[in-house]
Structures are given as structure tokens and as C-alpha cells.
């Protein structure tokens, strides 16, 4: 790896001809590639409103069309400044596409971009409605580990394994439920954007999304843990 000497910074006017640019990829007047404005909105990068339900084929098309324009291949013989701007812009394009190409990624990005993603102090604590099932699951996990440490063979752990497999199934289904909740709250969000775009309503929705994300990551970890123990 190398230390890069410069870091591109943006201004509101074109570095080459001085025309106003307002964050566009290229200067409308002279066509030169422009630096990234601070805190780019990934949705705006693709020319999209901040809506969560996106047609993925349309997003891919926008991604490819921008790739043709911004990729460093197009700037091999350009000035060093333009080469660096292309590197910054095209990496931002790829980062943006990576973030927005899945429904979950879009919600995560929306919250992070608006400073609304809060992982919560009680990250390790089970959501109340799951307490009982999580308790049972942890017992089974302990049982399996103890049996394994005691040198138990496949036959002696068969029963607890079966229990864990059931639990894995239950929690995988819960994960699907959470994803369905994300989908419906995304639809709600889009409706607000289309309607009055009320600040208070948006904040309330983002708070709810944050809660759903926290629950999702808790269940996700649980499923991964069970899968890892079963595979061990």
C-alpha cells in the first residue's frame, strides 16, 4: 500500500472553468470531472430521491451508465488531477452502489446518513418478546458444548442437535418476519416522501427503523452462532 499525497476537496464551482457545479459529476460548461462534495448523498449520486423501494434493474442500469463515465480507464491520459478525481468519484460510485443495492443496505445507509443509526446500549440483550426462546436456545448451546468437551459422540448429541436445528429454523423464520417489517416500513417511508415529507414523521419512522435493525442484528447473530456450533 502507499500513502496518497492529496485528498480531493470540493467547492461549488468548477476547478477548471469556474462555472457553478452544485455537486454534479461533470461541469455542465467545460465537461471536466468534478471533486466530490462533502457528505455526498448516495441516492442523489444516482439522481434518485431518498426512497427505499428501488427497482434494482433500474439502479443497475444507472450504475453501469455512470461506470462508463467515471471509471479510471477513461482518464489514463488525463491530467494527474483528473485521474485522482476519477478515482475518488468512481470509488464513491462503487461504494454507493454497494450500499444501495439491497433493501437492508438502503435502510442502513439512510439511517447512517441522517445520523439516526443507534446501535443501542443493550446490544447484547434479547428483545423482550424473544426472552424465553433465547433462554432455551442458550441452554441447548451449553448442553451441546459440554457434551462435545466430554468427548460425546454423534449419537449422544443427536437429541440436543435436533433441538438446535429446530431453534435455528424458528429464528431464521423470525429473521424473515423482520425483513418483511423492513419492507413495509420502507413503503411507509416512501409514501411520506411522496406526500408532505414531514420532518417529524420522518424522524419517527427512522426511530422505528433503527429498532427493527437492532432486532434484526440480534437475531442474525443468534442464527450465525447456532449455525457455527452445529457445524463445529
Amino acid at each position: 500500500m502507499t500513502a496518497s499525497s492529496t485528498m480531493s476537496t470540493a467547492s461549488a464551482s468548477c476547478w477548471s472553468c469556474g462555472a457553478a457545479t452544485s455537486g454534479a459529476h461533470f461541469c455542465a460548461k467545460c465537461g471536466k470531472i468534478q471533486p466530490l462534495p462533502k457528505g455526498t448523498d448516495y441516492f442523489a449520486f444516482f439522481g434518485l430521491p431518498q426512497k427505499l423501494r428501488i427497482d434494482s434493474a433500474d439502479l443497475e442500469k444507472r450504475f453501469h451508465s455512470l461506470s462508463w463515465k467515471l471509471h479510471p480507464d477513461n482518464f489514463v491520459r488525463a491530467s494527474e488531477n483528473e485521474r485522482e478525481l476519477s478515482l475518488a468519484r468512481s470509488s464513491e460510485l462503487n461504494d454507493a452502489y454497494r450500499a444501495l443495492s439491497t433493501p437492508l443496505g438502503r435502510v442502513e445507509y439512510l439511517l447512517a446518513h441522517n445520523g439516526m443509526r443507534k446501535e443501542g446500549q443493550k446490544k447484547q440483550q434479547a428483545p423482550p418478546e424473544l426472552l424465553e426462546e433465547v433462554f432455551e436456545l442458550n441452554e441447548s448451546l451449553d448442553e451441546l458444548r459440554e457434551a462435545r468437551e466430554a468427548g460425546g459422540d454423534a449419537a449422544s448429541t443427536a437429541k440436543v442437535r435436533e433441538k438446535l436445528q429446530d431453534a435455528e429454523k424458528t429464528f431464521t423464520e423470525k429473521l424473515e418476519d423482520v425483513d418483511a417489517q423492513l419492507d413495509s416500513i420502507s413503503a411507509e417511508w416512501d409514501a411520506v416522501i411522496d406526500a408532505d415529507n414531514n420532518e417529524a414523521t420522518r424522524r419517527a419512522l427512522m426511530d422505528r427503523m433503527n429498532e427493527i435493525l437492532n432486532r434484526r442484528s440480534y437475531i442474525r447473530n443468534l442464527v450465525n452462532k447456532v449455525a457455527a456450533e452445529l457445524a463445529a
Binding site: 500500500m1 500513502a3 496518497s4 499525497s5 451508465s65 480507464d73 478515482l87 461504494d95
Partner: protein, 612 residues
Amino acid sequence: MGRTVGIDLGTTYSLVAYVDRESKQPKCIPGPYGSALCPSVVSLDADGSIIVGEPARRRLLTQPERTIYSVKRLMGRGPADVAGELKIFPFRIDPGSESVIRVRLGDRVFTPPEISAFILRELKSWAEQYFGETVDKAVITVPAYFNDAQRQATKDAGRLAGLEVLRLVNEPTAAALAYGLHEAQRGLVAVYDFGGGTFDISVLKLISTDQGDIYQVLSTSGDTHLGGDDIDNELQRVAREEIRSQFGVDLAADPSAVQELRKALIAAKHELSLADQTTIRFPLSDRRIFTRMMKRPEFERLIAPVVERTMVPVKQALADAHMAPNRMEEVVLVGGSTRVPLVRQVVEEYFGRKPHAELNPDEVVALGAAVQANILETGVAGMLLLDVTPLSLGIETMGGVVAKIIPRNSTIPASAQEMFTTGVDKQTGIDIHVLQGERELARDCRSLARFQLKVPPGPAGLARVEVKFLIDASGILQVAARDLRSGLQNAIEVQPSYGLGDAEIEKMLEESIEYAEQDFTERQLIEARTEAETILRATEKTLAHPEVEIDATERRAIDTAKAALQQAIAGRDYKLIRARIDELNSVTTPLAERIMNHALATALEGKNLDNE
């Protein structure tokens, strides 16, 4: 301005290719021995000159301690990484090696990038001779699974060879590019690239857009230490064991014999790709002969574990692309090891379709590199490669845990921004440790570099430094930092964990210029000697001419000049040889003129002079 070529810098062979300006097709450039394959072997001659390729390969048998092969295995690696290799490979690592390996050839030591640079320089000269033009830029291919240090080492090698490396392209992606051009195919493609020392698998999506074709890599995985070499080593293990038990001879002490045996086993491996059985015949130094028949089923049983190892990355790449094997619309085989029938069979069974192998598996990567070189050289669009980074990038956090900031299989260029601050009052520096890999703990990942951000002393948490990590289109990491409070660029000194620092490269560049001079001298010497021999033969012939009169003074002058030239040839001073050639020429010119006149006169008389 010089030309741009595509180079496949392989473990076993290296190739150079270009796109023909008229046919628009990529072509490999043949070397002086007629083949486009340059064995990736480098040898240091007793007089200090460097020998590369076919002649170096022959010296593996005669001068193993001055010759090195498969150096790609050492690129960008530390001494601890290669401890396992040393049991099988006759690399002589210099004991002084710390972060960078140094290999001993005869009485000198070289870093792996320097040795690779000799190979690149050779290929560069093939291309220059072929074009009659300078070549100063290149696209070089690397295994997709190469990490940052291995990529940087490859780029350093290019620089040391006097080439501006416009881009590093992943080998399977290059192969897909060559195939796409050849077959005009679209859709989902898996490229299975099993070479001499590395294995890669890439899943690509080929898309037609209004502006042209996009080759988008969805995922990649691999093993940078899995290849045909491992098949050879499996055979080597069996043969050496049997030689020990049959003859009580341990070959370990005899590097020449090990190379001789390796050659015989590789031949046997090649034969078993075509025939059902082969006989390995290997004469021991005491003239006893080890003979061993091997049938294909036994061979396949032996190598099955090696082939099976390729399936781990294959499954990983498909899982990362969220694809089932039967979703692939094409499967492409690349690399010499895919000639092994068992490999083809395993791949076919897994994907449920017959793999493509129409293009020469040895050449296809170089051809793809040439296509990318052409795109960058001519700026003609119509084709765009979107590749990914094979490994996650992370930074070490509290307790030695790695926080991933750019996940693997992210399209490159890719970037991530991180904010850093101080933990205690009056702290003046923030230490950052950058790693690559998928594991949770820093000690299980690949250390790329450590650096310190300098901050003005103040209360804890006041400093705010933003660090931007950017992986460029070659898969190489760049780091820039900015102090958000002052708005100033924060200078970073990056010390690579395994690799050459800038100062070291500069020093090597100076040395490599000496080598360039030495290469030049070597070529001048050979040319001068050849010309001298030609003129000496011509002089002999003239002196023997029956109808020419030479007086004693003239003959003495010619004899003196001849002797002086013969003496000069024995030395290594090409300028002296040239001077002696001129001298001999000047004393023989009157004589030559007389012969010409005589011939003319004879011809006018209608006589035939052609009777000597």
C-alpha cells in the same frame, strides 16, 4: 512514446502479448526460441550476467544453486510465510531476510521483485525486438486472490524493469476478457483458473449496454499456494520415498538430482493427461535406475486431495455471488493444470456443464492482458472491466479485533472513511494498523502496514483525523489523512509490513540501471563477436583465392590485423572488437577491390569464375 503490452507474469511461464492494430485481435509475441512461453526461471552466470527463460531453465540441472524458478510464490511474502515451501522448493533464503525475503543466487542476493523484474525485462526485450519500437508501459496480470503486498511487489517488479504498470488485472478476469472477445458471450460465467502455483475462481456477469460490454466480477476467491506445483510435489514425495526404500538413497542432499527427478515427474504428469499410463525412469548418480510404472487411476488417487482443495474457494465464490453452480451459463478453464483430465471431470460434475477450453490455457491470460492494455493505450471504449477486491480490508481496534471497513468482493475502486481521535491527554500520535483478511482477530489476518497519525497535543478526544482508505483499480491500497480541526493534510509515513519501502526501490532502480547497461553491453559483445567471426572467415577465403596476388608487406599487415582481432574476440570489450574489425577492414580493402576488378574482367571475358 513507447508501446503498451499485456504481460502474464506466471509461476511457471510468463508471456507478453499485444493487440494487432489491423485485425484488432490479441496475439502472443514469440521469443528467440520461437515459443511465446518464457520459462519463469532466472539464473546468475559466473561472470555476473543474468540469464532468463529457456537457457536459465537448462541451468536448473547444471547450476541449481545459481538458478531460481517459481519465484512468484515468494512475491510480497515474509520469511515466516514461506517456511513450509522451503521443505520442497530449493529456495535459498538469505538469513538476513526480515520483512522482505532475499534469495541467494550464487554469491549475490536478490528480492523477489528484482528477480521478477529480470523476467519482465526479458519479455520487454522480446516485444521491443518484435515491434522494432520501445515498450515502456504494461498491464500485468496477478492471481485474483493476491493481497495488497503481493500486488505491490508485482508493481515494484514492473517499475524495476523499466515499465510503467498502467494496471494490474486479475488473471481470471483477463481470461474472461479474452474469451468474451472470442466468443461474444453474455450472461453468468465462472472462470476456473488452475495454474502452476496459484488457484483462482471468479464469477462474472457479462452485460451488453448502449456504450459497450461490461465485464462485472461478482465475486472471486482462491488460494495463492495451490497449483500444478502441488501435483508435482505429491509425485515427488512418492518417488523420493520409493527411491529411499529401494536404493537407500536420500535425494535431499543433491539439488541437481532433485531437479532431474522433478523434470522426469513433470513429463510423466503431462503424459498422464493424454495416455492411460506412463513409466517414470530416473537414473541415480551411481547409474542404478529407478523405474516406476504409473496408471492414471493411481495418479488420480494421488492428486485427488489437491484437486479437491480447489473446490473450497469455488464454493465460497458462488456463495458470495449468491449463486448456485447450475446458474452459470458458461464455465471457462484457464491455466496449464486444467489439462489434467481429473480436473476437467471434477469441474464438469460440479457445474453440471461441459467447460470451455477452446483458447490455449497457457496463452489466454496474456491475451486478456493485451486487450486491457489496448483499452488503456488507445482509449477506445466499448469494453469495461469492473473487478473486485478479493479480501476484506480492516483496521485493528481494541483487544486486537479487526473492524472491517471494505468488505471482500467490493467493486474496485472502493473506499472507506474512518474518524480517529486521541484516547489520552497530550497524546501526539494515533497508531493505525491496516490488515487484510476475513478472520476476526488481527493476528489471524495479513498485516499490510502500520502508520502513525501525528496530532497536536491536547485533551483526549479533541483531535479529529479523518483517514480515507482507497483501493484503486489495480487492487492496491492508498491511504490519505486529514486533520479535521486544522483542515490540513496529515502526512503519513507508511511502512509496509511485507514489502519494499520507497527508498529501497530507488536503490534497486539505480542498480537495475547498471543491469540495463550490463544487458546492453552483453548484447553489443555478442553482436561484435558474430561480426568479427564473419569478417575473419571472409578474409581467410579471400587469402585462399587462387588468382589474387598479394605481396609480403600486404600479407604481413593482414596477418597482424587478423591476429589482433582474434585476440580481441577472446576478451569482453566490444568497443575493442569493433576497432579491430575496422582495422582489418581497412587493410583488406585494396585486396578486396583487386578481387572485384579481377572478377569483373573475367566476367567481361565471358569466363566463369565460379569454380573455386
